[in-house]
């Protein structure tokens, strides 16, 4: 093996990053050696070379333990990105050689799209069998992070915040309004529609604000309009957990009318007597992203929009 001891820039190879990441992930040279099938001294030397080149210490070592330094922690996060990109490049090249075209990466709010997404994806796969679809559940904040890192082509999310509008296209899919989730046996469960005022003393379970700010803000705003500030006791980061906590009797929840929990969850769903402001479901995609695979998906979406809206109406009324 050639040892690079010159200490000049641009000697770093993927091998350095692989060895470093393996040690950093397991905080152990012997474990890294086992996983990489590379002798331990070779790994140690490679990391020393790397530290020399970077002119920083990546690890704090003593006889017993290995710890990442602050520099090492930062370097690990970036190294993982590079390694991931490298393996993605390899995967895409192989796909291209097999004659598959492009990838369409879609992020979606799973609870709002349980029944909306399958017909879209089925139609797309039938028509364009060679395009690979990557579908991931992502909250609105995750979607923007993925867009920023170039990991996403299309998102199904809430309307764009004002600072994003210049850079994104947005297309409304359907309007939605808040509805109430109550535990079985709640005193108000017998009513067809419920006045929010009647819940002023309740504990509220709201989907966490960071994940979906517009939903959280709309819930609070609706309560304030009804004359009270909600006592928020839980902010789960998953919509199904919101339903679970209501089912446990820990409080009531305000969720988008079309958002669904799991079929097994036993809660009561009621519309509000006075309709909240609307919270739309939108398709969003960066203005910089274009291409036939996305364009074809948007066309299918447009052709199915009327049917999707009917489905939403049937469920929410």
């Amino acid at each position: 093996m050639t040892m690079i001891v010159l200490g000049i820039a641009l000697c770093m190879e993927l091998r350095h990053l692989r060895y470093f990441a393996a040690v950093a992930q397991h905080l152990s040279y012997s474990e890294a050696s086992r996983r990489l099938h590379v002798a331990q001294p070779a790994i140690s030397q490679t990391i020393l070379d790397l530290e020399e080149e970077l002119e920083v210490k990546l690890f704090l070592r003593n006889n017993r333990t290995v710890q990442l330094t602050a520099a090492g922690t930062t370097f690990l996060a970036e190294s993982e990105k590079i390694l991931q990109n490298a393996s993605e490049a390899q995967r895409l090249a192989r796909r291209a050689a097999r004659g598959e075209v492009g990838v369409l990466r879609i992020g979606f709010l799973a609870p709002a799209m349980v029944t909306l997404l399958p017909p879209l994806v089925q139609a797309y796969r039938r028509r364009y069998p060679d395009v690979e679809l990557q579908l991931s559940h992502m909250n609105p904040d995750d979607q923007f992070r993925a867009f920023d890192e170039g990991r996403l082509d299309l998102g199904f999310s809430r309307p764009l915040p004002i600072d994003r509008r210049p850079y994104f296209n947005e297309e409304m899919i359907h309007n939605d309004y808040l509805s109430l989730v109550l535990p079985v046996g709640h005193p108000l469960a017998g009513k067809k529609k419920i006045k929010l005022e009647a819940l002023a003393k309740e504990s509220f379970i709201l989907f966490h604000r960071i994940g979906a700010p517009s939903l959280f803000d709309l819930a609070v705003e609706s309560c304030r309009r009804a004359g009270f500030s909600p006592k928020i006791t839980h902010q789960p980061d998953m919509m199904t957990t919101v339903f679970t906590l209501v089912e446990c009797g820990l409080g009531v929840a305000l969720v988008p009318g079309f958002a669904r929990g799991l079929a097994e969850q036993n809660t009561i769903r009621r519309p509000l007597a006075q309709r909240s402001s609307s919270i739309c479901l939108c398709a969003i995609w960066p203005k910089s992203v274009q291409g036939p695979t996305l364009e074809a998906f948007l066309e299918i979406l447009r052709s199915q929009k009327a049917a999707l809206r009917k489905q939403v109406e049937r469920f929410t009324q």
Partner: protein, 220 residues
């Protein structure tokens, strides 16, 4: 020279049948053609008046090409061919290249589709210096939608292997024993097939000059 491609195909047929291909091999090839004719394979193809299915396929560089996007600029001629190893296909594709200026003047585009892997269609393109997109339909998924894919008889697969163009290598696992019947579809800007030419005898093709006549009629 009008219908030059047809004349070249006729000459090639004469040459291959009379001088190049051994009698036993010809018998195998003709038997397969007759089998396709008996199965009325051509009747399964998309007829004139049908709406063409949209597709997204990679060109020789792996870049996705979509039929609907092409149709925004004018009529599209979709040519299904068997592969760069087929001399009749090369003549046909070269015939379209020769008439490309006329197609361009009429605002029409040509795309050729074969089940070859992208890297193999690149060599077809380089070899023939084709200036229109040569697309790769691995596994004949789009050929099936146009109703032109068929399974080769085993004797024919073996024969092609003995000729030195194994389909497995050209087309990958998915398309190992399947080929499109050579076919030409002229599609107007509404996505409707205006001319559909399918002949189970792979030596007979729709001449590019005939295609030009059809496009002129569409344009009127």
């Amino acid at each position: 020279m009008h219908n030059q491609t047809t004349q070249e195909l006729d000459q090639a047929r004469k040459y291959y049948r009379e001088e190049r291909i051994p009698k036993e091999a010809l018998a195998i090839m003709d038997a397969d053609t007759e089998r396709l004719a008996a199965a009325k394979l051509a009747d399964r193809a998309l007829p004139s008046g049908a709406v063409a299915p949209d597709f997204i396929l990679p060109d020789a560089q792996g870049k996705p090409v979509r039929l609907q996007s092409l149709l925004r600029d004018g009529p599209v001629v979709v040519v299904f061919y068997r592969g760069g190893w087929c001399p009749y296909c090369n003549l046909h594709l070269r015939g379209f290249q020769r008439r490309l200026p006329e197609f361009e003047a009429l605002g029409a585009q040509v795309v050729a589709i074969s089940p070859q892997l992208p890297d193999n269609s690149l060599s077809t393109q380089e070899k023939d210096e084709l200036k229109y997109p040569v697309l790769s339909d691995v596994g004949n998924k789009i050929a099936h939608k146009f109703g032109v894919a068929f399974r080769l008889g085993d004797p024919l697969v073996k024969l092609y292997e003995s000729f030195g163009h194994p389909l497995l290598e050209a087309n990958g696992k998915e398309g190992e024993a399947e080929l499109p019947v050579p076919a030409t579809f002229v599609i107007d800007t509404d996505g409707v097939v205006r001319r559909s030419h399918v002949d189970v005898d792979y030596t007979r093709r729709l001449d590019p000059d005939e295609v030009i006549e059809t496009i002129k009629k569409i344009r009127e």
